[in-house]
């Protein structure tokens, strides 16, 4: 494997570096995780010496985390790839027999494969990206190429969270919205270990604590943030939906909910037709202007806009022989059965706790509002002299999302928040620009077969939010995408379904592909489930001895497990060596107070054999003459830096990747002509841009007339129309109708597919057990297996970092002592952990901070021996465990095709549904193990000591 001498602080022994004449401080954006904090990097003697937070940064406000500071050691990682690599012809894929090749050979080879694909069937390229922060660019690239088969990592990550939020309120938690802990008095966090906004969440919790706010954590495990909770609510995994429904039950029963908010800003008063068996069943009664009809206080039926929020929430109505009920009435009917006692049986949370917490949140919201002196005007034209907020905030993440009932659970959470009136008011959930968008955002994926033709760019975006079955990418029952996104099985797969790709490509279902291109995702290890089989599928051959996935191209900066499975590897720079944009077009770094974006700039020069991945992709695009990249055969962009500055969402739109310093003078913001010196301007301004929204536009933005006009002006939203919150999700009902055979447009044929739609596409939230519970063997695996993110590691990236790896290099399986004693297992014991997928060994560690029905460990600590530049004897491969080996990737299927262990609405991977049983192990070592390979840099793997200092100061 490739070797270089460029990237090391010092070799063995002591080597004090003198303080260089010119010490530089460079501002850029961190990429040790997805949080994207502003960092100041001190460079001495062309070596990175200190990384600290930028005080003015709207994201991290001067602080930085363990990963951020340890960026130094990532820069000097032993796993750095330093030249393009190619699998030795004739050697087997997966063994890591890669040799350096020159760039021209690598580019030519890949361009050749891609050219063939593009000329015949562009869908034969599958391009999937992982922890990617340039999705706008990557999506654009794939669109120009013409393949439907592109997505980032959302499918195995948290599409449930994104989609449920987008279909409910046109925003979500995560990068789309945020609990306002500056004003909240009561805060409930469900299923969060660390989450994307790492530093901002810590800063916010700190503010809540300063102000004496009450902090409730709902989580099977108490750790991290949970340690600070005033109350820990240990819940059995996969049951939060029941908890939330029961809380709504109590709020409803006690009248502790915001009726005015519901009828003014949500569609809860909308009249839903009750016509079982009819095509109009469950759809809103709409006015000729397509407005939802409501019954006003006089019992007249009027469009919602005319009723000015006076629509009734309850009742049974008939009009011209049709029966209608307000959406809220429908939910109330359902809530009647969702008693605290019912929920206690499911969640293992005592009913008294459920009632107490519901009363706390309801009372705080309704009886103790926060009042800001800011006037604002709503879309009905009513002026509010003050901004009144309900200071009850929530935050949730993968603990809800990563279950196969996650979509509906999160829908329940958003409906609960709507009931409490705590959407975008002070102290509640607050949008981050450019959100709110219409719920769901008015973008649908290109869904016709004609959209994907040889030598042609796709006219519409590849990903979006289907509004009805007609937007799905299906031909009959057959999916059109290799990942089955937008298929009948996973209709609202708004982020694509990366976790389905390898198996489908292996199965050649719906078709075989030619090239799998992977950027920044470790699919041969910690982001796959059923890992060992996945690895086998990556290297499987057909009868003729050809690989079933003929070509695998990997763009990575480090020698990950996946690199060993590549045929060609393009080495990427580190984040301290390239231009980048953290764009509003992508995943915003905005704060509730206003839009923000930032750049990365090269702090030090990359090793000579290394190029930024985006530059490589642009080079490929230029060689392939992809439409959006060439102008009459002349390349428009040579590098990603060009692209960042010059590209526009559509020609002349004035909207590009970066919103600050636009226009020829660099004086425009948000909309303005491209500025070829924009990056310089950012570099001069500490690498970020932030604009505060005017106070009267800051709150209730979905309903704030001035905000909507402004947001339309700056092209956040295509029209200034009100954004009505979707208490009742009509798009879901259209899918249900399709399942019932009642939808006039596309509908599935197979009964199993129909049943899925009819069951899970409920327009109102409900709780159902995770799909794993329906497996015949579910009873034999009584414990749920979870992972949590450690605050010090970002997925697989921590282990090649000499400092971070010291903080966590092996992971025991944490178990409640009561649960262990019931199984006669003791602390420190080696056990077999078996799921229906297979079994593996683990060492137990007792912890009372975990619910007895759950076992858990840290995510992505284990490494394949020799990967990541580590010595094959490193504890990460000798003592750490990767639970992905036994997380099942598929469910028992009702039809004749594979059914993945995904949420039936969005296709989100159901990581946290895995069920296991434990029993003593005679084997006292980690099992299974994969074959060892030589580390990229054997010399570094053998280093005896790492020590350096730049200064000779008082201490010496």
């Amino acid at each position: 494997m490739a070797l270089t001498k460029d990237a090391e602080p010092s070799g063995q022994g002591r080597q004090a570096l003198k303080l260089a004449e010119g010490t530089r401080k460079v501002h850029t954006t961190c990429y040790m995780c997805a949080c994207r904090c502003g960092i100041e990097v001190t460079v001495e003697d062309e070596k990175i010496r200190f990384i600290s937070g930028i005080a003015e940064s709207p994201v991290n406000k001067g602080v930085w985390c363990a990963k951020g500071g340890a960026g130094i050691m990532t820069q000097y990682s032993p796993a750095r790839l330093t030249t393009p690599l190619m699998r030795v012809p004739g050697s087997e894929r997966g063994q890591g027999t890669l040799v350096p090749v020159d760039w021209e050979t690598a580019l030519n080879t890949v361009a050749g494969w891609l050219q063939d694909i593009r000329q015949t069937d562009p869908a034969k390229l599958a391009y999937f990206t992982g922890r990617d922060q340039m999705q706008a660019f990557n999506g654009y690239w794939a669109r120009q190429f013409g393949t439907p088969n592109w997505a980032a990592h959302g499918g195995f990550c948290s599409v449930n969270m994104a989609a449920a939020g987008m279909y409910s309120v046109g925003g979500s938690f995560w990068e789309f919205g945020w609990p306002d802990l500056e004003e909240a008095r009561w805060f409930m966090m469900l299923g969060v270990a660390e989450d994307h906004p790492s530093n901002p969440l810590k800063l916010a919790i700190s503010r809540l604590k300063d102000r004496g706010g009450r902090f409730v954590v709902v989580n099977p495990v108490r750790s991290g943030y949970g340690a600070l909770a005033d109350e820990w609510v240990p819940i059995h995994p996969g049951t939060d939906g029941a908890l939330l429904m029961a809380m709504m039950h109590v709020l409803h029963q006690e009248g502790l909910y915001d009726r005015e908010f519901l009828s003014r800003y949500t569609n809860a008063a909308g009249l839903v037709e009750v016509a079982p068996g009819q095509p109009s069943d469950g759809l809103f009664w709409r006015s000729s202007g397509q407005d939802v009809m409501v019954a006003d206080e006089r019992g007249d039926f009027v469009p919602m806009m005319e009723a000015s929020g006076r629509g009734r929430l309850e009742g049974d109505y008939r009009h011209e022989g049709r029966a209608y009920r307000p959406a809220f009435q429908l939910l109330s009917d359902r809530l009647a059965a969702c008693t605290p006692a019912w929920a206690e049986g499911i969640t293992h949370v005592p009913r008294r706790t459920i009632v107490r917490l519901a009363l706390e949140m309801g009372t705080t919201a309704m009886k103790h509002p926060v009042v800001l002196p800011t006037p604002w005007t709503d879309f009905y034209g009513q002026e509010h002299p003050q901004t009144v907020g309900r200071p009850v905030a929530f935050h949730a993440m993968r603990g809800l999302a990563a279950h196969t009932n996650g979509f509906q659970t999160i829908r329940a959470l958003f409906d609960l928040m709507m009931m409490l009136g705590t959407i975008d008011g002070p102290g509640g959930f607050r949008y981050k620009s450019p959100y709110p968008k219409e719920a769901p955002p008015p973008v649908t994926p290109a869904s016709r077969p004609e959209d994907y033709q040889p030598m042609q760019a796709v006219a519409k975006p590849l990903l979006g939010y289907p509004r009805s079955p007609d937007d799905l990418l299906v031909q009959g029952d057959e999916p059109m995408r290799i990942d089955e996104a937008y298929s009948w099985k996973y209709p609202l797969a708004a982020h694509g379904l990366i976790q389905n790709v390898v198996r489908n490509a292996f199965d050649k279902r719906p078709y075989g592909i030619d090239t799998l291109m992977v950027y920044m995702s470790n699919i041969a290890w910690n982001s796959s489930w059923n890992t060992l089989e996945t690895r086998d599928m990556l290297r499987a051959k057909d009868d003729q001895g050809e690989y079933r996935i003929p070509h695998v191209v990997v763009l990575d900066a480090f020698d990950s497990e996946t690199v060993a499975f590549a045929d060609i590897v393009f080495p990427d720079t580190t984040y301290l060596e390239r231009w980048d944009a953290a764009s509003l077009q992508d995943r915003p770094i905005s704060e509730p107070d206003g839009p923000a974006d930032s750049i990365r700039q090269p702090v030090v020069a990359p090793p000579s054999g290394v190029r930024p991945a985006a530059d490589t992709l642009i080079e490929l695009a230029n060689r392939l003459r992809l439409p959006g990249f060439v102008d009459q055969d002349r390349p428009r962009y040579r590098t990603y830096a060009d692209f960042i500055q010059l590209w526009e969402t559509s020609p002349g739109s004035g909207v590009g990747l970066l919103a600050g310093y636009r226009g020829s003078q660099g004086t425009d913001t948000l909309v303005g002509a491209p500025n070829p010196r924009q990056l310089e301007a950012y570099a001069r301004h500490k690498a970020f841009w932030f604009e505060e929204i005017a106070p009267e536009r800051k709150y209730y933005r979905m309903a704030n007339r001035q905000y909507l006009d402004w947001a339309h002006g700056v092209k956040f939203i295509p029209t200034a129309d009100p954004i009505i919150l979707q208490f009742y999700s009509e798009p879901l009902q259209t899918f249900r109708l399709a399942g019932q055979g009642l939808w006039p447009g596309k509908k599935p044929r197979h009964p199993a597919l129909r049943k899925r739609l009819a069951t899970y596409f409920d327009p109102l939230p409900f709780w159902h057990p995770p799909l794993e519970e329906k497996e015949e063997t579910a009873g034999s695996y009584p414990l749920i297996l979870l992972t949590q993110r450690p605050m010090t590691h970002y997925h697989s990236w921590g282990s090649h970092n000499a400092w971070l790896r010291q903080l966590l290099l092996e992971n025991p399986l944490f178990i409640n002592p009561q649960a262990a004693q019931a199984l006669d297992l003791c602390d420190g014991q080696w056990v077999w952990m078996e799921s229906r997928q297979g079994r593996m060994t683990a060492t137990l560690r007792f912890s009372d901070a975990v619910e007895p029905g759950t076992v858990w460990t840290w995510n992505a600590i284990a490494k394949a021996p020799g990967a990541w530049g580590l010595h094959p004897d490193a504890p990460e491969s000798q003592n750490a465990i990767l639970v992905n080996h036994i997380v099942p990737d598929t469910l028992t299927s009702d039809d004749d095709t594979v059914t993945f262990n995904n949420d039936p609405v969005t296709g989100q991977a159901g990581w946290y549904d895995a069920k296991v049983r434990l029993y003593p192990s005679e084997l006292h070592e980690v099992w299974p193990k994969v074959e060892a390979r030589a580390p990229v840099r054997a010399d570094m793997a053998e280093w005896k000591s790492l020590r350096y200092s730049t200064r000779k100061g008082a201490g010496h």
């Binding site: 293992h348 092996e810 009561q818 019931a822 003791c826």
Partner: protein, 324 residues
């Protein structure tokens, strides 16, 4: 704490040397013991060699000889400064003992005088060395007068055993034999006190950590940085498994008390002498190894990885729970 060889060598050899000189002085000043003067001189010579080796070992414990010249700077407060001084003075006087014997007229009594002085200084050096350990409140296992008594007794015992071995072939001096047997018995008693102290220390550290976390005792949940011992934290040393510790205690008693008694009673002559010395030497060394290696420092609790033994969180009886 990490029982490094220079520490073991320094403390053991210093004690041995002082012990041998002490017995020599006693024999010299109390002629009842009836040991030939040449034998006494051999004892003293051997003591000098032991002391010199111990002194040399101490240099290996210093990691920066360049700074050795500063070592006497804190005589006012540092028992280590005092140790350096006392050991040096002791060695100088011990050298005088030899020189005086060789070059000074016998009848002037000078030899007797310096021998006595050297013995006192030797005892003082052992005392100071022991005080170095005994005065550290953070070393929970050492912070006690027992440490001083054990050090002194171990020195006398090993010195006595060495002296005994050096004469055993020729003499059957009852007084010396009785002295060695007595010292072994006292050592056995002191060692059991020390063992008790060590167990108390290991249990006691949890009691007052002042963290404000309710419901002690608690369980440390770190992996990664809490993996001990740290190379860079020499005071953190893994706790011995209780079973092994019990075996080692028994071994110390066997080697330092039982076998010497048996040898002294039933095996006269060279064989007995050498067996006695070897046994005492091993026993005292093992006890010293345990002194360092099994000591509890107040910080250990902060770093201890979860021991691979049942949880320290005590509970009353088994409780069952509902698994679905």
């Amino acid at each position: 704490m990490r029982p490094t060889w220079p520490l073991l060598a320094l403390t053991l050899l210093q004690g041995l040397s002082a012990g041998m000189l002490c017995l020599a002085a006693v024999a010299l000043l109390a002629p009842a013991m009836d040991i030939p003067r040449t034998t006494l001189f051999v004892w003293q010579g051997a003591a000098w060699v032991a002391g010199a080796l111990g002194g040399m070992a101490s240099f290996f414990h210093m990691h920066r000889l360049a700074a050795a010249r500063y070592v006497l700077r804190r005589l006012g407060s540092s028992w280590l400064s005092r140790e350096a001084l006392s050991t040096a003075v002791y060695m100088i006087v011990a050298s005088f003992v030899l020189l005086v014997h060789l070059f000074w007229p016998r009848d002037l009594g000078a030899w007797d005088a310096v021998s006595g002085l050297a013995a006192v200084l030797g005892l003082a050096a052992v005392y100071i060395t022991a005080m170095l350990y005994a005065t550290i409140p953070a070393m929970r296992s050492w912070h006690s007068p027992v440490t001083v008594l054990v050090f002194v007794c171990a020195g006398l015992l090993s010195g006595g055993a060495a002296d005994y071995a050096l004469v055993a072939g020729r003499s059957s001096d009852l007084a010396l034999r009785a002295a060695v047997m007595g010292l072994a018995a006292v050592f056995g008693i002191l060692f059991s006190f020390q063992a008790r102290l060590f167990r108390q220390a290991a249990g006691g550290v949890l009691s007052a950590t002042g963290t404000g976390l309710s419901g002690r005792p608690y369980r440390l949940q770190d992996s990664g940085t809490s993996r001990r011992p740290y190379r860079t934290q020499t005071q953190i040393w893994p706790e011995l498994p209780a079973r092994l510790r019990r075996w080692l205690y028994a071994l110390v008693f066997g080697l330092a008390v039982a076998i010497p008694w048996a040898a002294a009673i039933w095996l006269p002559g060279w064989a007995g002498g050498i067996l006695l010395l070897a046994s005492v030497g091993l026993g005292v060394s093992l006890s010293r190894w345990l002194f360092f290696g099994d000591a509890t420092h107040s910080s250990r609790v902060w770093f201890a990885d979860q021991p691979k033994t049942p949880s320290p969180v005590r509970r009353e009886g088994k409780r069952t729970y509902k698994m679905q």
